[in-house]
């Protein structure tokens, strides 16, 4: 304390000068507009420089954190890009012997659990029972019965059938069906509990039921529900085809369909 007092005494004149200068400058800055604006301009530019420097250091110190954020953002964007790549319409696949024949829907599903749909052409157009039917590149149903010029279609909106699907192109196979309640929602059953699925994931056909080739879009995941103690989870799917407005259909034809049917129906005997 004594040393401080001695220091103050030794520099009393300088301190007095500084104090009087502070008083004078404060009076000047308070009353002189030009002085005030110049002062703020100078101090503003100085504080901007200081703040910029501080911001630079702060950014440098936060580099690891920002890097992690960018990596996370990158992963999210890659995931979205992959989903966009997956969600494409099914195209004619001549390499794997799938071709299409066009048709027209005459009567669509009406929301009743077991209603059938009618379409043209029939047998005269080369349509056969068991063919897969697409609408806008997405799965619509399968040909159940054929007439000369018409055919009856069992759509996805029918409670009496199920479709072999998987979540994503490489997910485990599960069974897609309709519970007859809400026309806008299908149910994917027998999905193992460990499967990673979330809203927006695309559901593709597996190709195992021979009606559709693999990777035809069936719909997108709407909701995933894991019940405690259950081995499987229930997944609700929004169909990709619009059953209320579909008009033009594509009938899927496999060039070796008779052979596939024969082989799949033959009992193997050792």
């Amino acid at each position: 304390m004594r040393n401080l007092w001695l220091l103050l005494q030794r520099n009393a004149f300088t301190l007095a000068f500084i104090a009087l200068m502070a008083v004078s400058l404060s009076v000047l800055l308070r009353n002189d507009g030009a002085a005030r604006s110049s002062w703020f301009q100078q101090t503003g530019s100085v504080s901007y420089m200081i703040d910029k420097q501080r911001h630079g250091w702060s950014n440098y110190l936060r580099l690891a954190e920002q890097n992690a954020e960018l990596a996370e953002e990158n992963a999210d964007l890659r995931s979205r890009l992959l989903s966009m790549d997956l969600a494409v319409e099914w195209q004619e696949d001549t390499v794997r012997h799938w071709t299409v024949r066009s048709g027209m829907l005459i009567k669509g599903p009406d929301g009743k659990p077991r209603s059938s749909s009618l379409a043209t052409p029939g047998r005269d157009g080369g349509i056969e029972t068991g063919m897969g039917v697409l609408s806008g590149g997405a799965a619509f149903g399968t040909v159940e019965e054929i007439g000369e010029a018409h055919c009856r279609i069992l759509t996805l909106m029918h409670t009496g059938t199920s479709w072999s699907c998987r979540i994503g192109r490489l997910g485990p196979v599960a069974s897609l069906g309709w519970d007859g309640v809400d026309m806008g929602l299908l149910q994917l059953r027998d999905v193992p509990r460990h499967v990673q699925a979330q809203r927006g994931d695309t559901v593709f056909s597996s190709g195992y039921d021979l009606r559709f080739p693999p990777d035809v879009i069936m719909g997108t995941v709407f909701d995933v529900e894991r019940q405690s103690g259950a081995d499987f989870m229930s997944v609700t799917v929004v169909p990709a085809a619009d059953f209320t407005a579909s008009r033009h259909l594509e009938f899927l034809v496999h060039q070796a369909d008779s052979e596939r049917t024969a082989l799949s129906s033959t009992d193997l005997r050792p």
Binding site: F17, L20, M21, S24, L25, R30, D32, A35, S38
Partner: protein
């Protein structure tokens, strides 16, 4: 006495000699400086600083200049001890020395007055212009004004402390 002289010169500068400026901004004298320069060199540094501040305050009040003279007066009051030391004779100031022509000689008087006037005018110029780009243009007028202030102070000095008085007194 010093304070009375200071107030009188503030009054004169503010109300009578305000417009005495033959060449406009090139010759703008600060008459009041003479009162500050008449403080004896041996006086306390605090007295010089305080009177410098008081002179600026009085001028600001009288001229309505809102702090410019206060800053310049404080700077001059703070520098005055150093200026006195700078112009001090080799053997130092005598106790009886007064800052007048008779005691200190003409070169001391002119040099000290011009240095003090220069410090005052340069500070005044800085706080009047503020912006860096305006300062080069105001530098020469402040130099010439400092010279003119020196001239005015010397005229006052000669009027009050005329050399022939010394002869008559001796």
């Amino acid at each position: 006495m010093i304070v009375l002289r200071l107030l009188l010169l503030v009054f004169l500068q503010a109300f009578l000699l305000r417009d005495v400026s033959p060449l406009g901004e090139w010759t703008r004298p600060e008459w009041t400086l003479w009162a500050l320069l008449l403080i004896p060199p041996q006086a306390s540094s605090f007295l010089k600083l305080g009177l410098g501040f008081a002179m600026g305050l009085a001028l600001d009040i009288a001229l309505g200049s809102y702090g410019q003279h206060m800053v310049a007066g404080t700077v001059l009051g703070g520098l005055l001890p150093a200026i006195h030391r700078l112009f001090a004779p080799r053997e130092g100031y005598e106790v009886s020395d007064h800052p007048i022509l008779r005691d200190m000689g003409s070169s001391w008087l002119v040099g000290l007055t011009f240095t003090a006037a220069l410090a005052y005018h340069l500070t005044l110029m800085l706080v009047s212009n503020w912006y860096w780009h305006l300062i080069p243009g105001a530098l020469l007028p402040s130099l010439s004004s400092a010279a003119f202030t020196t001239l005015c102070c010397l005229v006052l000095h000669l009027m009050v402390y005329a050399p022939d008085r010394r002869k008559s007194s001796t």
